[in-house]
């Protein structure tokens, strides 16, 4: 193996990344050994590139080049800056769990309020007892990096029958420039639970940083859960997030993903419907400008019969930005009566904007109803003219039509406060355009 001498574009030896991080990584010697193994997987594979089918449109070697060294643990100044960002991005009424540069910040979090309704520990506290936290259903190079280098995360456990009185908002704040924040979280949701989990990614003045996050969520039977991820990282940041979700029987899971920041981002979601009679709704919006690259890759795996899945995805692409949507629906041989549909639409606001859409149906059962549809196009000139003839300046007319376009996905968010919050993010994005 010649990996020992592998160098990144900046001339740093890849192996230094792990060596320099080791002192920062929580876990017993066994855990560290597992981490080292994961790191070796990454060293062997390197960053994903276009010849790897799943990463065809998102060549991280070309787009990102290298994984940056871990950010230092936040000091008092960093925490102060993070507090400002938290204030700006907190959702009214939600209970916050804040990670700053990949480290849990108790002083910015609502641990006490949460403790009455849910079990909470940090990843740092949990790893020794549960080395399984580093294992995931599938793995690739970025997931391996995550297992190797995750410094912290939240480990949340919501007991059977709990109805959370307020949403939980996990806020990832970046204050350190040109460094990596690597986090891994786990959310275990019991039977009959009603809960809303929000994840926000924001910057507090930091630039050119990298986020690598993994979330492992299991939802029990008869639950009703909303999972919302809002990624609004700095314009020159990188965000790679991997979600692993398993859904029990007769459960409703409503997922929403919004990308409105980062120079390069990839959200890869792997959702397995593992119990019958469940309804999954996965919706997303990508808002991309300049030379941003935003990739949403979703794998919905119908492992059992009688489940419904619906995916609505909308991309708004300006300037020379590039949006990728890959949606795979797998229907296992047993999963009869599966009803799975996926609809994706891209709105191209400039001639140089690019949208790639790759739907895949892998159906191994015969009594199913599955389908997908995709469109890509510009704003309708006749609608624009109608609005302008009624007094709306060009940009405002465009903004109204763009809002309507993304509205089809956003309106799938059931909670009024959350929906308004997300509409607000879209509005601010549109304001920055004009």
């Amino acid at each position: 193996m010649n990996v020992a001498v592998a160098k990144t574009g900046s001339g740093r030896a890849v192996s230094d990344l792990f060596a320099s991080a080791e002192g920062r990584l929580p876990g017993s010697p066994d855990v560290i050994a597992a981490r080292r193994e994961a790191f070796e997987t990454y060293e062997r594979l390197g960053l994903p590139h276009r010849r790897i089918e799943e990463w065809k449109y998102t060549d991280l070697r070309a787009l990102v080049g290298e994984v940056l060294p871990l950010a230092a643990a936040p000091d008092a100044t960093a925490l102060k800056r993070a507090a400002e960002a938290v204030k700006a991005h907190a959702i009214a009424g939600a209970r916050k769990l804040v990670l700053v540069d990949g480290v849990f910040a108790a002083e910015l979090s609502d641990v006490k309020a949460l403790a009455s309704e849910a079990g909470f520990k940090t990843l740092r506290e949990s790893l020794d007892k549960d080395a399984g936290l580093l294992k995931t259903a599938s793995t690739d190079a970025v997931i391996a990096v995550n297992a190797a280098l995750a410094t912290d995360g939240v480990v949340l456990s919501i007991a059977d029958g709990t109805q959370l009185s307020a949403p939980v908002q996990i806020i990832h704040v970046a204050t350190a420039a040109s460094a990596s924040a690597v986090t891994r979280s786990q959310v275990r949701i019991g039977k009959g639970v009603r809960a809303t989990i929000i994840e926000s990614f924001v910057a507090a003045g930091a630039a050119a940083y990298q986020v690598n996050d993994a979330v492992i969520i299991s939802v029990g039977d008869d639950a009703d859960v909303a999972h919302i991820r809002l990624m609004d990282d700095a314009a020159d940041a990188v965000n790679i997030t991997s979600q692993f979700v398993t859904v029990g029987a007769n459960t409703k899971l409503n997922v929403f993903n919004m990308t409105s920041g980062a120079a390069v981002s990839r959200l890869q979601g792997f959702i397995t419907l593992a119990g019958e009679g469940s309804e999954l709704s996965v919706n997303g919006v990508n808002l991309l400008k300049k030379t941003e690259h935003g990739d949403t890759t979703l794998v919905v795996d119908h492992a059992v019969p009688n489940c419904v899945s619906r995916e609505i995805f909308r991309a708004v692409i300006d300037d020379r930005a590039h949006s990728v949507f890959q949606g795979r629906i797998i229907v296992r041989p047993d999963a009869q009566k599966t009803d799975g549909k996926m609809m994706t639409r891209a709105l191209l606001l400039s001639d140089e904007a690019e949208a790639d859409n790759k739907p895949e149906l892998e159906i191994f059962a015969d009594d199913v109803s599955c389908g997908h549809g995709a469109t890509a196009g510009a704003l309708d000139d006749s609608l624009l003219f109608y609005l302008k003839a009624r007094g709306l300046p060009e940009k405002q007319a465009q903004a109204l039509l763009i809002q309507a376009f993304v509205g089809e996905a956003i309106e799938q968010i059931a909670d009024d406060t959350l929906r308004e919050h997300v509409i607000g993010i879209a509005e601010r994005w549109l304001e920055r355009r004009s």
Binding site: K388, G391, P393, E394, L400, Q403
Partner: protein, 251 residues
Amino acid sequence: MMALLEVKDLKVRVEEREILHGLTLTVNEGEVHAIMGPNGSGKSTLSHVIAGKPGYEVTDGQILFRGEDLLEMEPDERAAKGVFLAFQYPVEIPGVTTMNFLRTALNAQRKARGESELMVPDFLKKVREVSKSLNIPQDMLKRGVNVGFSGGEKKRNEVLQMALFEPSLCILDEMDSGLDIDALRIAADGVNALRSPGRAMVVITHYQRLLNYIVPDVVHVMSRGRVVKSGGKELALELEASGYAQFEDAA
């Protein structure tokens, strides 16, 4: 006195084909003009060019609005100055509620004129009044603009906007098409309510019937891209009796 609208020797091309061949029309404040003419004579083209729709090439002539060159202005600037076109075929805009659209448009016009935004309660009150007089149910206003509206409802929605925006020049392109007799009367009443000394209307229609409700001061006959005859309201009756054949020959 300066005319409200002056179209002078206007020549317009669409995709290399000349549609208007030197059209002249003058409309003063307070007047109601009717334009009649066979299909394809260029009536909608004229209305689109006045409103600023892209895709038309003006090769010659002028359009002045209160003496200002309208062709130099963006469509939204024209709207803010008081030009309003009630479309022959209003478009549907899914995802934008009528109410939101009305408020955004009204406030955009006010802003462009340097006026303050209308307060929400005042706005709602006004919309309620006008929509009631036009027999427009409130739940229609919650739907996407024109989405799932019947032909008649779309036309009434155009008149609603006209009443709300209070433009000084209203061009109505076949607002009577697709309306049943009752709806026609309601819409025409709505238009008549807006007649005022400071406001002019250009009513494009194929039917004398509308002109019984909205009585014009001047009637123009358009044929093959020109105004070929102008006269009083009796001209419309003449046309109803004898058709356009005589003008087609002349043009």
